[in-house]
Point group: C2
Chain length 350, copies 2
């Protein structure tokens, strides 16, 4: 039983020539070639091209203001003086309304695009250029088409989303993510009648965006296993064990941060723990934020998971027998990431 793969050629359109880390332009790792690396490894699976979906569920996750900014930013930037002034042809923020800047005062929204960028983007790594919106929006269609397949009877569908999404909050983007594909998939499952949906995030980094979307809600659980942000890893400020939700969402967030160097056994145990948690809480559908950057050879994380670990994680989550939408998140080593995704899918299909 081979899990169907949903993809879209438009997800290749976002080409981050570089990112900016501590003020230094460095080569990007969230590359269009990731799509092809995964496709190649999954060529035995049935392939579905994503179909267009309207914005209703996307707007349930993200503020309209963020969506309008992302849709228009590249064109507006190109019309500005930025390329001529400093040779910058991508939208990059430089000033940020942090608590330290605001100091309790109410800001007036910025008028200049170079200052507006920091209202929506919370880091300097997540550049917007020509094709970024088209790719990010296509990734949402990929996720929603995978949900369609599951609602039509597939037990599991894999959404080859790219760029990834789990760092995007209701109103802010960052961490190489623009739109929260997994959150939109969860909303789609909710809208289709699943009273409680579980999201398990096995990307090497905490999905602060997905956590934020469902922080105060009891109808969508969010559980994540990731490298401990307290060890110095993105997103730094979130992903600690003490973060468990608020209000109606109290107890519906779980974080299992792991030390640098954690390998298959302990990592897969943590995934199994989260699998049992969402099943025990009565979730009737599952979204997996499937990053494969926990791999030992990945350039973006210090975890040491192998293909066996990903297969075990897939078995733990697939073994729940829930309708499942697998949403691609991170994973940055082109040579191996496809086979790691295949290992997870193999385990999940059981």
């Amino acid at each position: 039983m081979s899990i169907p793969v949903v993809w879209s050629p438009a997800t290749r359109l976002h080409v981050p020539e570089h990112e900016v880390w501590v003020g230094v332009p460095t080569p990007g790792t969230e590359l269009p070639e990731r799509v092809d690396a995964i496709l190649a490894a999954l060529e035995a699976h049935p392939l579905h091209e994503a179909t267009p979906h309207d914005d209703e569920l996307l707007e349930a996750v993200h503020d309209g203001e963020l969506l309008a900014f992302l849709e228009g930013a590249a064109t507006a930037w190109a019309a500005g003086p930025y390329d001529e002034l400093v040779g910058q042809d991508r939208v990059v923020p430089y000033v940020f309304a942090t608590p330290a800047m605001l100091a309790g005062m109410e800001p007036t929204p910025a008028t200049a695009l170079h200052a507006q960028a920091g209202q929506y983007c919370y880091d300097t790594m997540t550049l917007v250029g020509p094709g970024t919106w088209e790719a990010a929006r296509a990734a949402v269609d990929v996720a929603l088409t995978a949900v369609d397949l599951v609602l039509a009877g597939e037990r599991t569908a894999y959404a080859l989303c790219r760029p990834p999404g789990h760092h995007v909050t209701p109103s802010g983007y960052g961490g190489s993510c623009y739109l929260n594909n997994a959150a939109v998939a969860a909303e789609a499952l909710r809208a289709a009648g699943h009273d409680r949906v579980g999201i398990v995030d096995i990307d090497a980094h905490h999905g602060n965006g997905t956590q934020a979307v469902f922080w105060g809600r009891g109808d969508v659980l969010y559980g994540s296993v990731h490298v401990d942000p307290a060890a110095g890893w993105f997103p730094h400020l979130f992903g600690h064990a003490g973060e468990t939700g608020t209000g109606a969402g109290a107890g519906t967030t779980r974080n299992l941060p792991l030390p640098e160097g954690t390998g298959d056994g302990r990592w897969a145990e943590a995934v199994t723990d989260l699998a049992q948690w969402v099943a025990g809480a009565g979730c009737t559908a599952l979204v997996v934020s499937l990053g494969v950057d926990a791999a030992g050879d990945d350039p973006e994380s210090p975890l040491q998971v192998t293909g066996d670990g990903f297969r075990d994680a897939g078995q733990a989550l697939g073994g729940l027998g829930l309708p499942s939408v697998l949403v691609q998140e991170g994973g940055y080593r082109l040579a191996t990431m496809g086979s790691l995704v295949a290992s997870y899918l193999h385990g999940h299909a059981g």
Copy 2:
């Protein structure tokens, strides 16, 4: 009657080799040579070297956490992998706890220095390197020594502070500023028994930091004339006419934003308006945030003020007859900035 000039050779120690704007390293303009350009233009004035002052008044303005970070950041950065990894030998943030990132969740402070930086620094332009703390701390001593001269009987003293300070809030630095020299001077005048102190900021940019320090206080007035942030100028989020203070500080902040291209007449009228405002409010001492970047040839602002305008501004503020501490802020054209400061001082001395 020639206004005494206070300076410190240590203010030259901060050497910002570059800044980062929209992700692009660009040459800095807040250079050590600014000190010498001003000294050269003021060589006829009595010169005083700053004397050391303890941290009491500095700590009245800034959180201890910000001070500790600034004091230790350069050494900690040099001990980290940043220069080796990406060739960055200055502290530059890359992720920021904006409202969009926080999304109503309570963050845990970051552990990694490259993430901590964004907790204190709110832009990518304000780099910390070897000598930054020493220079910024020396600038505070310069301001406090100028206050000493005034308290000892000088009607006016000029503090050649560098780096500038008016963008620094109680807990955040940015805008090429690290410690708020003018705010510390105002606190010193308050501590010396002046019940109400007026700060008039004639730098081309709004002093969001100084505004933040005194936002809720009635004992220090803050008035600023600057290029309209709504026209797209730093600090973008603050400096609008509607910002007037809160609580005990309600009505003790005044902002007079001016359109791009504003020249001598309208600009000096706005300064005169603020002079009358602080005098009318019963201030018994005056701090002037004396930036000269409103000049027509300054690379950092679109205002068109000349030496005549600065002289007129000096006459308006000096004409109040109040004990006055003049604190250097911006002004970035080395060839002309010294003479503009001299023009202002000439006017202020009357």
